[in-house]
């Protein structure tokens, strides 16, 4: 993978002391602060990003009564039986199923579209570009509302009622554009001469695609799939419109928030966070291991 000049070698742009000049302690502190301003701010911002996650984690141990709002004492109870509250694990399973199906379909359709957009010239390209861009610039609430109007009318006539199917249809739709732009960026970064070389060596177009192009764009496809899954898994606004009586995990939490979210939901929310971090860190480690192994 092509990388740029490692920026670690860059001296900080603000450092500009000449050796003859001996700054006072106050001045040196000021310089140190100026040099480390960005990194100190970054650490503060990261702490800010994690603050609610930490709260969620802490309150997963709360020995709460009716509502999980005031700290009442420590317990392992909720971690021992995260499914102890009715509905919470059912909604999690629904979310995971929706996420997996939507991710697979959106990734396949989006990758095909991205290939067409980068590798071909055709009539209607500008229109296709617009069709891909506009869903990303449309607020979720508008998409949810629009989907609801067709789902309650046209779709119920052909036997599709609000529920699991309509959630999946909607999720594929809003993930699709994000998959296209992610994969497209990856394809654009490839040197087309690599494929030409394959063809010069008498590879058929199919062979060229599966042996050369596909492995090269695979990291982009994997990234797009991860993005699609996380968008689908965390979606509430569109899901709320098109789900009928079906409950996903975010919807369960939202509905529960009116009377107090059970600590079991905190357990599940925090576990998903840990699992995701482990997966991403694992993938990074794997990638760096593979990069450091010499190629044959």
């Amino acid at each position: 993978m092509a990388t740029m000049t490692p920026p670690t070698t860059t001296p900080p742009p603000t450092a500009d002391q000449s050796p003859a000049y001996r700054p006072s302690t106050a001045k040196r502190a000021q310089l140190w602060l100026a040099n480390h301003f960005a990194i100190l701010t970054a650490i503060l911002v990261l702490l800010y990003l994690f603050l609610p996650v930490a709260y969620t984690f802490a309150f997963s141990f709360n020995d709460h009564g009716k509502t999980n709002i005031v700290w009442q004492g420590f317990t392992w109870e909720h971690w021992q039986d995260p499914c102890g509250v009715p509905g919470v694990c059912e909604s999690l399973v629904t979310s995971l199923q929706v996420g997996v199906i939507s991710t697979i379909v959106a990734t396949v359709l989006g990758t095909l579209m991205a290939l067409a957009m980068v590798r071909y010239r055709f009539r209607g390209k500008a229109a296709s570009n617009l069709l891909i861009f506009v869903p990303m610039a449309t607020p979720e609430i508008v998409m949810g509302a629009a989907l609801l109007t067709i789902f309650v009318q046209g779709f119920s006539n052909i036997g599709v009622n609000l529920g699991f199917t309509t959630i999946v249809f909607a999720h594929i739709m809003f993930c699709l554009s994000f998959v296209v732009v992610t994969v497209r960026a990856r394809i654009q970064s490839l040197d087309p001469r690599i494929e030409e070389a394959a063809q010069d060596l008498y590879a058929s177009p199919m062979q060229t695609f599966w042996k050369v192009t596909f492995p090269l764009i695979l990291p982009g496809i994997a990234g797009a799939a991860m993005l699609a899954f996380s968008l689908s898994f965390d979606d509430f606004i569109i899901t709320n419109f098109v789900s009928g009586n079906e409950s996903t995990f975010p919807k369960f939490v939202y509905v529960a928030s009116r009377r107090g979210i059970p600590a079991e939901a905190n357990v599940i929310g925090f576990s998903m966070f840990v699992i995701a971090v482990l997966l991403v860190v694992g993938a990074q480690v794997l990638a760096s291991l593979r990069a450091s192994t010499p190629r044959k």
Binding site: L46, Y55, L131, V142, S177, T182, A185, S230, V253, F273
Partner: protein, 303 residues
């Protein structure tokens, strides 16, 4: 929106090499596009057309989803007059949240691109990871952190920095929630464009006797503009349509337009036409703003 792609793609993808014009022509492109375009046609365009037609029908006081079949522009009049304050609040709060997110996100993105060294992948994970704790859970967590007896309000009250005495259930809490929830959408595109910038160009600024601030203003910031542009759009658009932050953190009175649309659709009988008109107005307003904004600041990198 190529900067957007870096949200999930690996950030080290170099810019495209100068591709010779060898693009293929033919029907294959249409075959590749067909399934995706059909999907967007049926589940994006068609619903919008239906929404448009609903927005022109009269209120039907009965089972949701049924309307009088007529043509009526009153819903739009109502959307633009009765609900003008809601639109104003939505755009104001979303605008403020976008501004604060920019202020908070830029140093983080800058540090990730130029100062983090081997920690940058870890920082990247830290930016994305909170996403996986459901955003509703995190917003609920904020409602407790900002609550009257919570740590933030207590400290600010002790220092007499809080004129109203509380944060929760005020517009301030809503803006704080919006800023928090969409922050990663601001960080990642800015990081992506800074990461692609050549650090030697920034060094050159220092070599030419520009001080830190001048270098930043005349070199670094302009180089990151594509990312800033994508980031502000990715923050402003969802923030303007959001209703969850207002519902969980905001006051009872003075809601945003997203709350009205949500309530009219899901709670008010016969509310569909007005809600549809509100949705359409919101979408049109955002598209116009996006268009003007991209024309004013845009680069070819967008779209």
């Amino acid at each position: 929106m190529s900067a957007l792609a870096h949200v999930a793609g690996d950030p080290a993808v170099s810019p495209a090499p100068p591709a010779p014009e060898t693009k293929k022509r033919g029907w294959t492109a249409y075959l590749l596009l067909l399934p995706g375009v059909l999907w967007l046609g049926v589940f994006f365009i068609l619903p919008l057309v239906q929404l448009a037609s609903v927005s022109l029908q009269s209120r039907y006081p009965g089972f949701p989803g049924y309307y009088y079949r007529d043509l009526n522009f009153e819903n739009y009049v109502s959307a633009l007059t009765d609900y003008a304050p809601h639109f104003a609040r939505s755009f104001l709060y979303a605008g403020l949240a976008t501004f604060f997110a920019f202020v908070v996100a830029y140093p983080l993105a800058y540090a990730m691109a130029f100062k983090a060294g081997r920690w940058r992948n870890l920082m990247m994970i830290c930016v994305i990871a909170p996403f996986f704790t459901s955003f509703i859970l995190r917003t609920f967590a904020w409602s407790q952190i900002l609550a009257d007896e919570g740590p933030v309000a207590t400290v600010l009250n002790f220092l007499h920095l809080l004129p109203g005495g509380n944060i929760i259930n005020t517009p301030l809490a809503v803006v704080a929630g919006l800023t928090y929830n969409f922050l990663p959408f601001m960080v990642l595109p800015i990081y992506a464009s800074l990461e692609r910038a050549d650090p030697r160009v920034i060094e050159a600024g220092g070599d030419l006797y520009a001080n830190g601030f001048t270098t930043f203003r005349t070199i670094t910031l302009p180089m990151s503009m594509p990312g800033v542009l994508a980031g502000t759009l990715l923050t402003f658009i969802p923030a303007a349509g959001d209703f969850v932050n207002m519902e969980l953190l905001g006051p009872q009175q003075g809601k945003m337009v997203g709350n009205v649309i949500n309530d009219q659709f899901l709670a008010v009988p016969g509310g569909y036409p007005v809600a549809a008109a509100l949705s359409f107005t919101l979408m049109a307003a955002i598209l116009v703003m996006v268009f003007l904004y991209v024309r004013r600041f845009g680069t070819e990198e967008l779209v």
